[in-house]
Symmetry: C2
């Protein structure tokens, strides 16, 4: 005999979540069973409502409560620079630096032929429309520094070329606080190649 | 700028769960946002319904879908032996051994004066009622082998004594597959003390 059927169902639901194994799922399920009915209802409602009311910014494809999103509707942001990212979470990461004052474009993925994701499966057309219509001076390609991210960045840079717009890629190199001893050779080669004069 | 308010709320709800830190909460929240609305609704409904329909066995206090629970209503189980456990999860663990054929009693906690939990805060009265009314031959005390669990076991054994019922405590010793070198001295002392003749 295991747990009762209803608890097994709850455990199963938790197990579907990423990075949650069976033991953690059991712990979470029992946390739910031991918490008050009101807390439980709030948790369930938040899950349902957030998913149901999910809205994307019609300009940059950012997840937002109001359309356009706070960044696109902010008149103080420089609309001439578009930073292209893979995911909404990347926007939050870049915003945290407080160094960027342009706007964003979320691709919602990267080109990945291995996974059957082509240029038409990500928000590339929308990006090209923005570049064609708006007065864009620079496109920063901030996709991840892996195979798919690099390929996507290369692909976009070729598409942007005819528009005569400056296209840049975020720098690769040794992370601040990193250690040369533990840096892989590709990163180190990039760091040497892109050395800056002091 | 962080995430939109509704996402922040969802992240916060996930952060309330045990063993879920901020980064995992963000990952879980985005998993929810990326899954289908139907899956989301099922997840939310399971949480709400399982909590709402939570039922305890009127005999042993086990969580169950039907009252009495499958163990208490099973005529093949030996009702003369009651195994006392702290938590519903312990029943599942013991059932997994396939070695026990008696019934259970869930205390729903242990006596812990430090946390303000006294004998009246756990299901002790119910246990004594069962012992008084039913034809019980043995009470197995299977609380955890820590300070509170030991104290609770001692407390119960004193309460049971006047009934002239055999009271036993699960054995302490070196776990199977364990290593003497890494066994703490209290466990090793117990293992020596409770050695069995071959």
């Amino acid at each position: 005999m295991g747990f009762s059927a209803s608890i097994e169902k709850l455990i199963e639901e938790f197990e579907k979540l990423p990075s949650i194994g069976h033991k953690t799922a059991v712990r979470l399920a029992f946390y739910i069973l031991n918490s008050s009915e009101a807390d439980c209802e709030e948790f369930a409602n938040t899950i349902m409502n957030t998913r149901k009311n999910l809205k994307y910014c019609s300009i940059c494809n950012n997840i937002t409560d109001s359309d356009p999103c706070p960044i696109c509707s902010n008149t103080k942001r420089n609309k001439e620079v578009i930073c292209v990212v893979e995911d909404v979470r990347d926007i939050v990461q870049i915003e945290r630096t407080h160094e960027y004052n342009g706007v964003y474009h979320v691709l919602n993925g990267v080109i990945s032929p291995m996974n059957g994701i082509g240029p038409n499966d990500i928000k590339l057309k929308e990006l090209m429309t923005r570049i064609g219509n708006d007065d864009v001076k620079e496109v920063i390609l901030a996709t991840n520094p892996n195979v798919e991210g690099e390929a996507t960045a290369m692909y976009i840079s070729k598409l942007v070329k005819p528009f005569n717009i400056k296209t840049t890629r975020i720098a690769h190199g040794i992370p601040i606080g990193g250690d040369l001893e533990y840096t892989d050779e590709v990163t180190l080669a990039k760091a040497l190649e892109n050395r800056t004069e002091l």
